[in-house]
Symmetry: C2
């Protein structure tokens, strides 16, 4: 039976290591991350990381899988909702994603970097299943197009454009900062403005 030796029992320490791994992998990227950094960050030593998780790549896979399994589902939960109008979906996705990426600015860049470094890891870890259902959204777009409310557009094009528009400031932040003149405070204003402007832009793009 487990015997907590201090105020930090086994599961808490396990979690602290995982949290530290999240921070280090997210900011440095898997290839450049060092297990020693993770140990320092967690306030433990390398031996304990090995004790709980075995190898670095197992830990890295856990972190990567976690973010893949939360990033897109959060998106598709809104887009796939059968009880929400298309217009509301656009507003909600933009708001939800902007909130999330402002709170966790490294996730988008991390995902892009990891996907680039080892594209196969995605299917290896989350399987080859087609992902969350887009049928609902597809039908919605078709119906609205039929009714003349929007121009016809494929789900893929719509989703890609929406994600791209929302995510780009976080994936290429340094480039945005430098070439669009968005240092420090200007970036905050830019993001606040984007929250307002983007839904209108996307919805206008759909209009017939």
């Amino acid at each position: 039976m487990p015997t907590p030796p201090s105020e930090l029992d086994e599961s808490q320490t396990r979690q602290r290591i995982l949290d530290a791994a999240h921070r280090v992998f997210l900011t440095r990227g898997t290839a450049a991350a060092r297990t020693q950094h993770i140990a320092d960050e967690a306030g433990v030593n390398k031996a304990l990381i090995h004790y709980y998780y075995g190898t670095k790549s197992a830990l890295a896979d856990a972190v990567f899988a976690h973010h893949v399994r939360t990033f897109l589902p959060r998106l598709f939960a809104i887009l796939g909702d059968p009880d929400r109008y298309l217009e509301d979906k656009v507003h909600d996705v933009v708001r939800e994603q902007m909130d999330f990426h402002c709170a966790h600015p490294y996730v988008a860049g991390y995902l892009a970097a990891e996907l680039h470094a080892e594209p196969e890891r995605l299917t290896r870890l989350v399987g080859a299943h087609g992902g969350p259902p887009l049928d609902v959204l597809a039908r919605q777009l078709a119906v609205d197009a039929e009714a003349g409310l929007i121009r016809p557009i494929s789900v893929q094009q719509f989703v890609a454009t929406l994600i791209g528009a929302v995510v780009i400031p976080f994936v290429m932040r340094p480039i945005m900062t430098l070439f669009l003149g968005l240092e420090g405070e200007r970036m905050q204003e830019f993001l606040a403005e984007r929250r307002r402007v983007l839904p209108a832009f996307i919805l206008a793009g759909l209009r017939p």
Copy 2:
């Protein structure tokens, strides 16, 4: 005076090393790239890489700087053109960027990954100058908005949305492939379709 020992003179070998470095750094990323791979790819040995370029990071910086210095200028050459209508700019940017990224599918992901791994490198290598001029485009947007041709929008929002929409399929290709069901041939169709659909979507997004 230079003495070419074979059909490959000094500058050619230098270039072959640089080309190999491009291939390796672009696909693996700087952190995971190995100088030995570059040597193998170039058909030379590590000693010669040192002979010409010194350190790995010097080579990596050269590759990174090259892509930064060609990626955005190519974009801004179109966007900043004073003798082109806004509508034409959108068409031209989409066409030009789609052509480029289809021909060089790793560049966008590489840039995103490198920017994430070491954001400071951008300003360190290309300086802190504000980048190519956006004044022309800004004025164009303002004038067209004044004339009631488009809704008012800031240059930053416009450019970010445009870049995001064009670049996202290449930056997050594995995610697009898996979750939008775009394996193999479907991706080609998707990109071909995007070429047609995107300019219309963006221009519709601008309409008042």
